[in-house]
Structures are given as C-alpha cells and as structure tokens.
Symmetry: C2
Subunit: 474 residues, 2 copies
C-alpha cells in the first residue's frame, strides 16, 4: 500500500495533535521515541495545534538536538513565546544545537532582554559567533549566512580531503556539505568542488587540481536580492560569503535563499498593491499594525487624488454646458490606470529579474509608446462605437447634450488613445525613475500609477472636449 | 589583490567578447583551453554578445560536454537558433551530454521537426528517456525532473553504499548527488539520507538504519507550485518524483525549483497587473505578442467600466442640480480601488504562500471589514476637512452648489467610508471566489478590483448624496 501523498487540504496537525497530547499525558518519556521518524517540519505542524502551555512540556520531553530542529520550523510568534517561557539555561541548551544562522535568527526575534539572558548561558565560542551574526543586517548575505562550512587546504590530496570531510561530517556541525571549498595558506578562497566531484576524483590528485578556480561569492554586505540572483543564475546550492581579503566568513545555503526569494516577492507584491510591506504573514500580523501599513499610502494617494477635484473644478463651465461629459470620466481615467498598471507590473518584474536595466529605459519607452498607441486605438474604437450605438438606439436619451454624437464620439475616442498611451508610458517609466532615485521600483504600485494617470487623464479628456466640442456642445 | 566582485552594471560580456572573437579568429583550437576555468554561465554571457554566426563556430571549438554546459545557460531564442543551424548529428552530440531534464527542455523549445531530427541521432537509451520527459507537462514535477538520481538497496552497509556512490560519481551522469535514496527490492522508495549523513555513518551500519524513513515526494503530475512549496517547507535540495507504486522515476533539483518559483512569481505579478502572463522575458517577447496579452484584459475591464457611464447616466438629474458632485467622482472611486488593491494583493500573496486557505474566508472577511472601516474613517475625515476648508477659504468659488457645505462634507465622508470598506471587502473576497471556482486567485488584479469598485462606488456615492442632499442641493 502506498502512503497517501500530503495534501494541503488534509489537516495533518488536527489529525495527530490529540494522540500526541494523550501520549504526553501518559508517558512523556515515550514522546521522543514515538515521533522519532517524523520530519521536524511535520512535528512542528502538529505541535502548533497544541495548547501553548503544553508545547513547552513537549519540547522538554525531546532531546536538545531534536527540540532545536523542531523549534526552527515553528511559527515565529509561538517560538518566541516558548523561548521566553523556558528557563534561560534550558532555552540556551536548545538553541545551542541549532545551526548558527538559525540560532541568530531565533534570538533576533526575541526581546533584547530575553536574548541577552539566553546568550549569557551559551558557551563562549558559540556565543561569540552568534553575536557576530546578530550584528549583520537581516536582509544581507551576512544576515543569511551560517558560519559552518567545509574547507580544505589547497595542497592536500583527494583521499586526505575525503578523510577530513568525513571527520567534519561525523562532528555533525555542518548543515550543508554540498560544496567543499579550497583555501590557500592564508585562508583565502581559491576554489570550489561539489562533494560529488571530490568523491569522483582519483585518490592521489591534489584537490587544487580538482577544484574550480572561479568561485561565485558575495561580501557580507550584499543585499539578499543579489544573493538570490547569483544563486539562481549559477545554479548554486550554497554561496560563500567572503571578507575584503577573500577569506570565507560564512555560507548562505539554498534553503535560506529560497526563503529570501519568497520574502522579497511578498514585499514586492504588497508594495505593488499600494502599501508598505508587512513583515509577518497576513494571518499573524496585528490588525492595528496592518492598518498602519496601509493607511499611509492610502492618504498619500488620496492627497494626489484631490487634484482630480481641482481639475474638474476648472472645467465646471464645460461640464455645466455639456453634462454628458461627466458620464465618461470614470471610463476614461480607469482605462489609463489599467494600461499603466500593466506596464508598471511588467517593468517591475523585469527589473527584479535583471532582464531590464536602467540603461534600457529608452528602449522600453519606445516599446511602451507603440503598445500604448495600439491598445489605445483598440479602446478608442470601442469607445467610439459605444457613443454612436447608444445614440442610434436611443439609449442616451437621459444624457444631456447628445446633439453632436459624432463629435462626442471622437472626443471619447481621442481621449482614450491619449490616456491609454500616456498610462503605458507613465507606468513603464515610473519604476525607472524610482530606481534612478535609489528607491525601490516596486513602490510604483498600480494605485500610484492610476492616481498619476487620473489627473493627467482628466486634462487630456477635457482638452479633447474643448478642442472638438467648442462652439458645438461647449 | 582581491578580484573585483561581480557587479550587475559592469558589462562583463562586452568586456571580453572582442578578445574571444580575436582568439577564435587566430586559433580556434585554443578557445577551449583559454576559457576552461570560466563558469559556463559566464562564458554564455560572453557568447551572447558575439555575432550569431560566430556562436556556432565557437561552440564547435568546445568539447561536447563543455558546449552542452554553455548551451544550457544561453538565452532560449539564441539556443534554438544555434541548434537549428548546426547539423543534426552535431547538435545531437552536444545535447546528449546535457542532463536529461535540460535536454528535454532544450528540445521542447525547438520546432517539432528540428527536435525530431536531433532525437533521431541520439543513442536509443537517451532518446527514450528524453521522449518520456518530453511527454510531461512543463509545469509539473514530471516536466521539471531529471532521471538521474542516486539510489542504493536498503540491505547493504554504509561502506558498500559509499563505494557504489563513488562509482556513480565517477560515471559522472548524476548532476545532483545531494541526497541518496534507499529502495527496497521492488525499487520502492524506503528512505533518504544526505551524502553528509552517509559519510558520517559508521562503516558497518546498514543504510536502512541510517536513512530517514519519511521521505517527502511528489507524483509526476504535481504542479510546480506544489513542488516549490514542499521544497521550501522542508528545506530540501532535491525532491524525488514517484509513481503510483512509490518507485522513484526522477528527481527535481533545487536549481530547477528556484527557476520555477521565479517563473511563477512573474506570472503572478503580470496577472496582478491586469494582463495575461508573458511566457518570455519582457525584452524578448514580440511587440504583437505582448499587445495581444494585454488587450484582452483591457477590453474586459473597459466593458466593465462602461457600467460606470450607465450609473452616472441614471444620476444625471442629481448632477444637473448639484454639479459639485461631479468633482469628487474620481476621488471617491479611486479611494475604493486603492483599498481594494491593497486587500487583493495581501490575500493573493498569502494564498500563494499557503498562509491563507479557502476555509479562512470568514476570518479574512471580518478582518478586512474592520480594516476597511478604519481606513475609510481616516479618509472620510480627510475628505470632510477638504470640503469645509475649501469652503472656508473661498477656494470652492467656481464650484456650483456650495450652499450647504456641511451636508456636502458629510456626503463625501460617508461615501468614502462606504467605498473604502466595500473596496477592502471586495478586494479580499475576490481571490477566494476565483479559487473556489478553480481559477487562479492572482487573476484578481488591481485593475479588476478597481473596476468592480468603481461601479459600486458610484452607487454608494450617489446614494449618500440622495440621502443627505435631497431637498437641499437636490
């Protein structure tokens, strides 16, 4: 019988939590054995379904190393509560078993006081490493890296290197052993080989001759998006972090790169939706916190939108004489906003992937001008047809001033072409402008572009109206 | 001296292409040696800057295996041109050196005819594997997987397993050797261990006792987003693909998972911008193709927006008597669209990450109702102030019908609260609705939500106007 594959709709946690709770009640000592073969991620899933006070008991019933593994997979909030609820010494015993990067991340989530207390209970060597990692910005290579990596001197032979690697593997401190780095006498990075390449090499060869001399590496200050880009481009499973002297100081592993990619993408999507990025999952972020992240941009956009009232105010005379013009205000400005939103999304994503650079702006501008004109013409024809058809079938009866349907139709069509073209152009250029100013191109949200286009769109619309209807409707 | 770290603004390709071209001119035989230590990705970068007809000569000057590595990193379009320009036999010699998954991907990009010709020149064993991989949908685990993986029988001991792994490594066919799978006599997946765990295990131990029994795996039909989710959640570097009998048929490696994640992100962002997803990078997709991907949604949204003209048409009488109402139309509907865009982006992203499931809709609805009300109140107060301040300072002179500023201010404020609340609610529920209907939640673009809110927003606005101004301005 094949075990069922995991299904996101099957609440695995809910299924097993009662059993686990009963076991914990009955014989805490057997919990470790009974759950031994579960992936720590699955055990964490089950644990998250338990009442919080029992989680502490459960972790206490697991060996330190296992507890550390599970803790790494728990939700941030729960994890912080548990570590703060545990005696500092016990918390220290657990976190010291985590990989250095996870340990630093976990302590970084705690209140400074709680983190200090736990740090004070950690053996000096691990404490110094942890404090050094904590000093890096979380969004940089330094903030993502672990300090455990495997390196061998350049002048040893393959069988000796393999022996050293096996010793390191048995010490069990290296989370990742996918790449073996080769260093010179001064500890500088000279080369890299995969464990496969080391295993495949003939025994007596010098490792220096086996390794690749070109190693992709980053400084500790590199932004996580740069780390992600290089990892993806070079198909790496780990990327070494080097200092100014090109000595390895750490290693960013691919699992942390994936997490960084997902976080970066969440931030981009939220910014593109017209708000500040949340730092936590939607369901966990506090309501007040979420409102705060949304209200600022809403107010900025509102302030921008106030200009639309001013523009319409300027054209009150025209509207007064030809009220029919008011009918098409939302239609026209929305069309500009929509084409702008398309252009902006395309460019933001292309920039994030490095497909489009700052120097490409002129090329993009010409492309968007052409697309905008084509799209505008399509909508212009539709708008033209709308005005004439409604007139033809007498649907426009209640609309004031439909004595000049063809002129009105040309006004609408012209405005649509103008607004859609302007929208594509403005939407595509805004990310370039933001990047040029050193800001995040993803801040060029659909609402931002729409607001920009609303104001200009009204001017274009009323401009066409004055041009084509002056002396007729106006 | 430390080598300069790579900088995305330094045109590495432009720097080296002339040298490479000169070398190719002078002594084609030395190209392979001179570029030997370059990462294939960097060599591909340089090659992309060469005139296309020279690229074929250059690849001809490289050993098959090296040519295959470089080919894997070239842009899709260039790669297809080259393979179609090469004699089928020569092309076959190169692609046969690629990993099976890359080989299938590369052939999939060619015209069917060209692919058939090359396939006919490939040795039978590799051809059958390639044809099998080509049969899978590209967006599934089967389409992403390679067929080279490392497995050992459950009943051998560690030193024997290590010997077998070294033999496989020397054959050099496994691109990834990060995980060693343990299978039973029928070839069914029984366990997994990392190469580190195998290296660390005491020599005489049975591999069955070293391996983890719980192995995360996927069927070949699993969607790439499911593959990505599991890889990220379980911090994997490779995920085995199994058949109905739980026999391993392939392996998806983390580099392909990252590519799939990035592609999925691009599609989401483009859909969220209100268009169909492009299949190629922005700069490479044809202009006509891009316009086609944008025009459909623009027309759909345009059709939706036509309703706004109908709604305003219904309220022409009110507008005629109180033209001042026209001033605030864009302001009010944009505010609804903006809050809707925020809510929709939040929920789409939370769904993509699995933070929010279908069953959470009620929880989300309540949360968004609360947020929407709070945000609407803030904007309502701003709108209220705007009307009264403009009136106070006589700025509203040209606006018709400002005899009842307080009533007008309450109308604007009320409409803003209503529209923003409705926007948040509609924007957050739309992704749920789409997913419930089996559609992609990311299709709930900012423009889609804005259009939805425009129509309702106008009704809410004029509703408040009739309620508060009837008998006064109206």
């Amino acid at each position: 019988m094949t075990p069922p594959s995991r299904d996101e709709d099957r609440p695995l946690a809910a299924l097993l939590a009662p059993d686990l709770l009963a076991l914990l009640e009955e014989s805490p000592a057997s919990v470790a054995v009974e759950t031994e073969e579960m992936h720590p991620r699955d055990l964490a899933d089950v644990i998250e379904a338990l009442p919080e006070e029992r989680v502490v008991d459960l972790l206490a019933a697991l060996p330190d190393e296992r507890a550390a593994d599970v803790l790494g997979y728990l939700e941030e909030e729960l994890r912080s509560h548990i570590l703060e609820a545990l005696p500092a010494r016990r918390a220290a015993e657990i976190v010291v078993e985590m990989t250095p990067d996870d340990r630093a991340d976990v302590l970084d989530e705690l209140t400074e006081e709680a983190a200090e207390e736990i740090l004070a209970e950690i053996p000096t060597a691990e404490r110094l490493i942890t404090e050094r990692l904590l000093a890096f910005e979380p969004d940089t290579a330094g903030g993502l890296m672990t300090t455990d990596f495997v390196s061998v001197p350049a002048d040893i032979v393959v069988d000796e290197a393999l022996r050293q690697v096996r010793v390191l593997a048995r010490e069990g401190r290296q989370e990742a052993m996918y790449a073996v780095y080769v260093t010179d006498a001064a500890g500088r990075l000279r080369g890299v080989m995969s464990l496969r390449e080391l295993l495949a090499a003939p025994d007596g060869t010098r490792v220096d001759d086996v390794a690749w001399q070109e190693v992709v590496s980053v400084p500790a200050t590199a932004d996580r998006s740069e780390v992600a880009r290089l990892t993806a481009e070079y198909d790496l499973v780990a990327i070494p972090v080097v200092d100014d002297e090109r000595r390895i100081v750490g290693l960013v592993t691919v699992d942390d790169v994936i997490d960084a990619i997902e976080e970066e993408h969440s931030e981009d999507v939220q910014k593109m939706g017209g708000m500040e990025a949340l730092d936590e999952p939607y369901m966990q972020v506090g309501l007040l916190d979420m409102i705060r992240k949304r209200v600022v941009w809403l107010c900025v956009l509102f302030a921008g939108s106030l200009l639309t009232a001013t523009v319409i105010g300027r054209f009150q005379d025209a509207l007064d004489r030809a009220l029919v013009l008011s009918l098409f205000i939302p239609l026209i400005i929305s069309s500009g906003g929509n084409s702008g939103s398309q252009a902006t999304s395309l460019i933001i994503r292309a920039m994030a992937l490095g497909e489009v650079e700052l120097r490409d702006w002129w090329h993009v501008a010409r492309r968007e001008l052409a697309s905008g004109l084509a799209l505008g013409l399509v909508l212009g024809v539709l708008g033209f047809a709308r005005v004439l058809l409604w007139h033809e079938f007498g649907l426009s009866a209640p609309e004031a001033g439909n004595q000049f349907p063809v002129r009105l139709a040309f006004t609408i069509a012209g405005a649509l072409v103008g607004v859609v073209t302007f929208g594509s152009l403005a939407g595509s250029m805004l990310p370039f402008l933001l990047r040029r100013l050193g800001l995040d191109p993803a801040s060029a949200s659909a609402p931002f572009v729409a607001t920009l286009v609303d104001v200009t769109g009204l001017i274009i619309y009323f401009g066409f109206a004055v041009l084509l209807l002056q002396g007729f409707l106006l």
